[in-house]
Amino acid sequence: MKHKLLDIARRLLILLLVVWTVVSLVTVLIELVPGDPATAILGEQATPEQVAQFRAKHGLDRPAFFFSYSEDAGGLRWNGWENRYVDYWREILHGDMGRSFRTDRPVVDLILSRYGATIELAVAALLVAVVIAIPLGVVAGKNRGNLTDNTLSVVALVGISLPSFVVGPLLIYVFAVWLGWLDPSGRFGWSSIILPALTLGSALSALLTRMVRSSVIEELGEDYVRTARAKGLSERTVIYKHVLKNGLIPVVTILGLQLGVLLAGAIITEKIFNWPGLGLLLVDDGINKRDYRIVQGCVLVISVTYIFANTLTDMIYRWLDPRIRVS
C-alpha cells in the first residue's frame, strides 16, 4: 500500500513538472519571436501610440521575466513579481488565457469552441483503428509465419510509414474527386468525419495490428489455451473469449498512449480536411496570422490533454494488470 501511494505521488510530481515545463515553454518562447508582436499585428504603418496601446492592453509592456538584462540599465535587473511570466500563470489559474491579438476574443472561448471537434476526430480515428486492427491482428497471429501473416506484416509496416498528409489527399482523390461519394473537406453531416478519421487512424491501425498479432501469438502458447481447447471449445471461442481478453491488455495501453499521439497528429489531418478543431485553430488562426496568444493557448491545451491522457492510461494499465505494479 505504501508502495502504491509513493508511486502515485511520484507520477503526480512528474505530471506537475511536465505541466510547469509546458507553461514555461509557451511563455518563454513567445519572447523569442523575431521583431515585436505588436508591429507584426498592427503593421508597419501603426503609430507609436497605437503600438503602445496594443502593448498595454495585452500586457506586453510589462517585463518578461523575474529579471532582465540590458547594457543600459547596468547589467542584471530584478523585476520582482510584476512580470509576464507570473501574469500568464495567474491568468491560467483563473481559467483565462488572454485575448486574441487580432479578434480580441478570449482565447479560452476560441479553444472551447474547437475542442469538441478535435476530440471527436481523435475518438473516431481510435475506433477506426480498433475495428481494422483486431480482426487483422487475430488473423495474422493465428496464421503465424505463413503467407497471410507475412503479407499482413508488410502491409502493416507500409501503413505505419505512410504519413497522414499522403493518405489524406489520396483518400480525397479516390472518394471525393474520383468516386464522388464524400465531401473533400469541412464538417457538415455525419459522413464528413469518415475520411479524416480514416486518415488519422490508418497509421495507428497498422501499429495496433502488429501489437494484436504478437499478443495473440504469445497468449496462444499459454496453458489456459490448451485447457480451453481440451475441454472442447471451438477455436473461435478460444480466440475471442479467452485469448483476446488477456491479449488486449497491452493493446489498451497503446491505445491510451496513442490517443495523445492522435491529438498531436490531428493538427495535420485537420489542416488537410479543413476540420474545425484545435489544430486548424493553431495553424490557421494562430501561426499563420501570428496571433501568438492563440498559439500559446492551443499548444498548452493540446499538451495538457496529451499528458493527462497518458497518465490516465498508465494508471488504468496498472490497475488492469497487477503484475506490473511491483516493478
Binding site: 509465419g145 507500409v158 505512410l162 489527399p169 491529438l263 496529451y306 499528458i307
Partner: protein
C-alpha cells in the same frame, strides 16, 4: 539481414546517389514555371508530368531528395552526438547529472508530443530550413540520450570494465574504448529510425507551411501545393509523386532500422 532491410539499404543508397547527382539527373530547371504546360500527364518530355504552374515534377522530386536527406543527416548527427554525450555522462557518473537528465529531462520530453513541440518552436521562431533543423534536434537528442544511458548502465558493470578500472584506466578511456563500442548497436538502430522520423517531420512541417518556404522543392511543400481540388482533379500525379517519394524513404529507413535491430539482437529474430 532480412529481405526488407536489404530493400531499405538499396533504396537509401539509390536515394543518396540521386541527391548527390541531382543536377545531372534532373531533366528540367526545378523552378522554371511554364503556364502553357500546366497539369501535363507523364510523357517522354516530362517523366512525371507537370504541376499547377507547369514545373517538371520529376526534377522537383529529384531535388527534393536533397532537402530530405540534408535535414535527416544533420538532425541525426547533431542530436545523436548531443544525446550520446549527455547519456554517457548521466549513465557513467550518475549523481545530480543523472537525476536531472533521466529524472526530469527524459520524463518531460517523453511526456510531450514531439511534433507539437517542433510546431510550437517553429511557430515562435519563424519558418525556415535552419530553424526547422534546430527544432528537430531539440526534440531528437533525448532518444539517443536514453538509449546511451541505458547501455552505459548495463555495460558499466561488466567484468572487462571493472578490469580496465582496476588497471588504472581513466574515465574517458573506459567510456570511449570500452563502453561506447558496446553501445553502438542500439544507437545505429536509433539513428536509422531517427532518419525516418526526421524526414517525416520535415515533410510534415513543410506541408503545414512551417518548414522550407514554398518555391523550394521539398516533398512536403509539393504535396501541399498539389492537394487542392483543382489540381487533384486535373493532375493527381502531382500529389502522388512526392507522396510516394516520402512514403518509400520513410519505409526504407524503418525497414533498415527494424532489420538491424533483429540482426543485431538475435533474441528478436523470428525464424
Amino acid at each position: 539481414m532480412n529481405r526488407l532491410a536489404v530493400f531499405g539499404l538499396v533504396f537509401i543508397a539509390l536515394l543518396v546517389l540521386v541527391a548527390l547527382f541531382a543536377p545531372f539527373i534532373a531533366t528540367h530547371d526545378v523552378g522554371a514555371t511554364n503556364l502553357a504546360a500546366r497539369y501535363l500527364p507523364p510523357s517522354s518530355a516530362h517523366w512525371l508530368g507537370t504541376d499547377a504552374t507547369g514545373r517538371d515534377i520529376f526534377s522537383r522530386v529529384v531535388f527534393g531528395a536533397r532537402i530530405s536527406l540534408r535535414v535527416g543527416i544533420v538532425v541525426v548527427a547533431v542530436s545523436g552526438l548531443v544525446g550520446v554525450v549527455v547519456g554517457a555522462l548521466a549513465g557513467f557518473y550518475g549523481g545530480w547529472i543523472d537525476r536531472i537528465v533521466s529524472g526530469y529531462v527524459i520524463n518531460v520530453f517523453l511526456a510531450f508530443p514531439g511534433l507539437l513541440l517542433a510546431i510550437a518552436m517553429v511557430a515562435f521562431l519563424g519558418a525556415g530550413l535552419n530553424k526547422l533543423i534546430l527544432a528537430l534536434c531539440i526534440i531528437g537528442w533525448v532518444g539517443y540520450a536514453r538509449v546511451m544511458r541505458g547501455q552505459v548502465l548495463k555495460v558499466r558493470e561488466y567484468d572487462f570494465v571493472q578490469a580496465a578500472r582496476a588497471l588504472g584506466a581513466r574515465d574517458w578511456r573506459i567510456l570511449f574504448t570500452h563502453i561506447l563500442p558496446n553501445a553502438v548497436q542500439p544507437l545505429i538502430v536509433q539513428a536509422s529510425l531517427g532518419m525516418a522520423g526526421a524526414v517525416l517531420s520535415e515533410a510534415s512541417l513543410s506541408f503545414l507551411g512551417l518548414g522550407v518556404p514554398p518555391p523550394a522543392p521539398s516533398w512536403g511543400v509539393m504535396l501541399e501545393e498539389a492537394r487542392d481540388l483543382a489540381t487533384l482533379q486535373r493532375a493527381p500525379h502531382a500529389m502522388l509523386a512526392p507522396g510516394i517519394a516520402i512514403a518509400l524513404t520513410v519505409l526504407a529507413f524503418n525497414f533498415l532500422g527494424d532489420g538491424l535491430r533483429e540482426y543485431l539482437d538475435p533474441r528478436q529474430r523470428r525464424r
